[in-house]
Symmetry: C2
């Protein structure tokens, strides 16, 4: 069985990706990143999702990009946007997916994993530059040159299976694979119990996804 | 004045790069990476070099790639190679320069720095895949897509000024800019005072460089 590193934030998208990778027969090593994000309950959610779906390991790496500032996700002094604001939002974290993929690449090489899965999504995404297919392709090109494994003829494959799916399609795919979205946390300011605020960007996209998919929304909200 | 992030390990190459960047008029922000390397005195060396040459800031980021294992530089259980062994050496650290550049990219975006300097070298290098010009070019292509700054028309430039220079040429360039190589640490197992072992790969390349450059070797060795 092939091994895969799966970037797992504990949200809907990455949880669906983990289920997809497992359904394809990969032995999955889930990687959570603690970068000082305010919604730290996503790390707890990721641990649960990873155990329930059957990842072989869940590892959290602590990285210092949060201390650099520059994002509403890591700096309590920057207000979170409400739904529907235009442009690249203040929740953008500088070079986040580049850093995440770089660390995945290191771990994949050590594990001799042949695939890295990342749950980026360019359809319902929030305008983040590092969620686009061309970004994933550029990282794939880099990965073909960057490692000893690649030089020796075993470059890692970067898989972004959700990149062109809508939120509704993602939810339907995940439900078919048995993902319990009630365990996942998308909200940028979820409380310690993983309950969502209901009005941030991430909550808006998530709620719209359940409506479009025509299924019940299992999200636990702070106000209910 | 433009800002630059300069990856600074405290060795000869990155110290020379810092001097070059300063001589080109950049305000330099030096980045040291604590990844659990055995030769931790290089971090102390980097701090000194950075202050003496005149960087505006020296920051150390702690990153967890050392805990993954897989390299003689971070795992005391893997023996360091002696000089002249063939192939990619056991001192290769999985995806190290990809991770370093990714973190530089994040910091550069927050600082609004327009350039990242990295001291990779493909001539006298030790067979590391992530020291080649094509690796640097691939990261440059990625950086053009990865960040908000890039999307808004201000992509960062990746400069690797030493990539095609010999060790002797690097030393001559650095001496012309006033670099004190006695402060720099290249040895993979330097002691706490920064004194070199004299027989590891890195010591061999360094010593040969001074001989080829025809200048005195200011390196402090443990045995002298």
């Amino acid at each position: 069985m092939s091994k895969a590193v799966v970037l797992l934030s504990g949200g809907m998208d990455s949880s669906t990706v983990l289920a997809l990778a497992l359904s394809q027969g990969f032995r999955c090593f889930a990687l959570g990143l603690d970068y000082g994000q305010r919604h730290r309950s996503e790390l707890t959610a990721a641990r649960k999702v990873s155990a329930i779906l059957g990842a072989e390991e869940y590892r959290v790496m602590k990285i210092p990009i949060g201390t650099l500032g520059g994002s509403a996700l890591t700096d309590e002094g920057i207000k979170l946007p409400r739904q529907g604001e235009k442009g690249i939002p203040v929740t953008y974290v500088p070079a986040r997916n580049t850093v995440f993929l770089a660390l995945s690449l290191a771990w994949a090489e050590i594990l001799r994993a042949d695939t890295i899965f990342i749950g980026v999504n360019a359809v319902d995404y929030s305008g983040y530059p590092d969620c686009r297919p061309e970004f994933v392709d550029a990282f794939q090109a880099l990965a073909r040159l960057a490692t000893k494994e690649a030089v020796e003829g075993r470059p890692v494959r970067i898989e972004a299976p959700l990149v062109r799916m809508t939120k509704a399609e993602i939810i339907q795919a995940g439900l078919a694979l048995g993902v319990d979205y009630g365990l996942t946390v998308s909200c940028y300011q979820a409380d310690e119990l993983g309950r969502a605020c209901g009005y941030c960007d991430a909550c808006g996209l998530r709620r719209a996804g359940f409506i479009a998919a025509g299924v019940d929304d299992p999200t636990r909200y702070q106000s209910t």
